[in-house]
Symmetry: C2
Subunit: 119 residues, 2 copies
């Protein structure tokens, strides 16, 4: 069920490459990568979980409330992270010229569905 | 000169609160905060520098090229980071309902100006 939701995000976002549902300990719940993407989505995810955790600490320090979303753009990839709840996040990696706005929308609407299945 | 550029970013972005130019060791070059923002921009910046550094390591691991931009959204703040070169970054903190697209544009166009003055 998770994989279907992840696949619909990856395939729905123009330029989508891979999607991942993971807990903040870095343990993947499920993942989906487009065939032949050559992309090790779980290695990426473990790294992302560390980042999101430190970003959460930073936002707490700032008294800025909880982190909801993190995006990082590099030359070849754009990674978008949506916090599902205090234990899980969902991440989407896409091409930098993909449709960023649509990807954000897809993650935002998928998060409550994923949460329903997680609890 | 740096402060003027930072002020023009903060005041040009709808919802802008504070701007910061900092090196990756966490040492601020200059900063600008809107009066009465109650915002300790240098404390924030030191935390952000650690984050951006780990994100750069992650993108290297992914062979995704250099990190160019990082954004993190929380309940009360949106922080947008633009990497200026291998040593410096510029960050803008704004209200989450501010104009994200305009803020990205302002940071992207300010980065080369800041770089000219840095070298």
């Amino acid at each position: 069920m998770f994989k279907e939701t992840l696949a619909s995000i990856v395939n729905g976002a123009e330029g989508g490459i891979a999607g991942l549902l993971m807990d903040f300990e870095g343990i993947p719940v499920d993942s989906y990568a487009k065939p032949d993407s050559g992309f090790d989505v779980e290695v990426v995810g473990a790294e992302v979980s560390v980042l999101v955790k430190s970003i959460q600490r930073a936002t707490e320090m700032l008294e800025a409330g909880s982190t909801r979303e993190v995006a990082f753009h590099s030359e070849k990839l754009l990674t978008l992270v949506r916090v599902v709840n205090e234990n899980y996040f969902v991440a989407l990696t896409m091409l930098p010229d993909g449709n960023f706005g649509k990807a954000r929308f897809l993650l935002r609407t998928a998060a409550p569905k994923l949460l329903e299945e997680l609890v």
